[in-house]
């Protein structure tokens, strides 16, 4: 495949708060990710090339616009979005991504300032890989790597994984759920 060994992962960050966008951008860049930050779900979908068309149009769009295809050199490897946003919430965005044939395999992570177990569970059940409580920490961003690694399918990339420094243990999805018992209520 044409993927360069040192291609950076590209994360699309979605948050209506300018401060939080700055913060998540810095957190992600510190972890050597390429970042695109937008301020709404609608803009996120536009960036991906997903408009409110039916599947037929969507596939036509995604094959024409190489930005939104599976081409890992320009594509998006992970989406991290705030939950509470005016218009389209992070949950709405999650659903739209998971309903899209082109993008349903992109890992989605939700962030929220509110610790509401039913909200968290609903997001995880509907396909979110992780749910981070704000303010997001570097330790949270470190949890993204395993989800990004999953996106690399070819065997040759196994050797790349071994070369990476500071490789964290890959944790199981169950651990994500267990985590929320420990959280204190704000």
């Amino acid at each position: 495949m044409g993927m360069a060994a040192q291609t950076q992962f590209h994360v699309l960050a979605v948050d209506d708060s300018l401060i939080d966008r700055k913060l998540i951008e810095r957190l992600l860049k510190t972890s050597s990710y390429q970042v695109t930050a937008v301020d709404s779900g609608r803009k996120a979908l536009e960036f991906l090339g997903l408009n409110n068309h039916d599947n037929e149009d969507e596939e036509r769009n995604s094959s024409v616009a190489s930005v939104s295809s599976d081409d890992q050199q320009v594509g998006v490897n992970l989406i991290i979005t705030d939950y509470c946003m005016p218009g389209m919430t992070g949950y709405d965005l999650l659903r739209k991504i998971k309903q899209s044939s082109s993008f349903k395999d992109i890992p989605v992570v939700i962030m929220s300032s509110e610790n509401i177990p039913s909200r968290i569970n609903r997001c995880l059940e509907d396909g979110a890989e992780e749910f981070f409580l704000k303010p997001v920490q570097l330790s949270d961003v470190n949890k993204l790597r395993p989800h990004l690694m999953k996106g690399i399918r070819s065997d040759e990339n196994q050797s790349n994984i071994n070369k990476r420094k500071g490789m964290e243990d890959i944790h199981s999805p169950d651990r994500t759920r267990a985590r929320y018992n420990e959280l204190e209520v704000v």
Binding site: L18, I19, D20, K22, L23, S113, K134, P135
Partner: protein, 154 residues
């Protein structure tokens, strides 16, 4: 004044802000994200916070002054202020916002007005503290020194 003395003042001042609850661990996170390639990161984010907060406080004053108060709108503004203060580690402002949201929820106008005053007070205090902090940092840098990293016990 010797650079060493200003550095010591900065460390003591910062520690006092943590001890008094003005700042929490999130501020340390911000500092850790600052480096030679992003030397103004903390100042930039805090400056955004000032601008954002000023606007929100103005909106809140107007919203609570209406003959019929739109509590959803008020709550939305407070939620935003709570979020941004939490993101920079301005703990007292954040806590004042939490109390404020409780009164929004039960649509208690008197409670909201009192909370608004409290949030404004905490905000101006915090602004003051941050400005002092940055002034000390600037003095250090102007004297050719480097800004000391704070080691906290928690």
């Amino acid at each position: 004044m010797e650079v060493v003395q200003i550095q010591r003042n900065l460390v003591d001042y910062t520690k006092s802000l943590f001890m008094e609850g003005f700042l929490d661990g999130q501020f340390l996170q911000l500092q850790q994200l600052q480096d030679e390639s992003n030397p103004d990161f903390v100042a930039e984010v805090v400056s955004l916070f000032f601008d954002d907060s000023q606007k929100l406080l103005n909106e809140l004053t107007i919203a609570l002054d209406q003959p019929i108060v739109d509590f959803k709108k008020v709550d939305a503004h407070v939620h935003q202020l709570k979020g941004s203060s939490s993101s920079i580690g301005a703990q007292k402002v954040k806590n004042a916002c939490i109390a404020f949201r409780n009164f929004c929820e039960v649509q208690n106008i008197e409670g909201c007005l009192t909370c608004l005053q409290q949030v404004k007070l905490e905000y101006y205090l915090a602004k003051n503290k941050f400005e002092t902090l940055f002034r000390l940092e600037q003095q250090i840098v102007a004297s050719g020194g480097s800004i000391p990293m704070i080691e906290m016990g928690f």
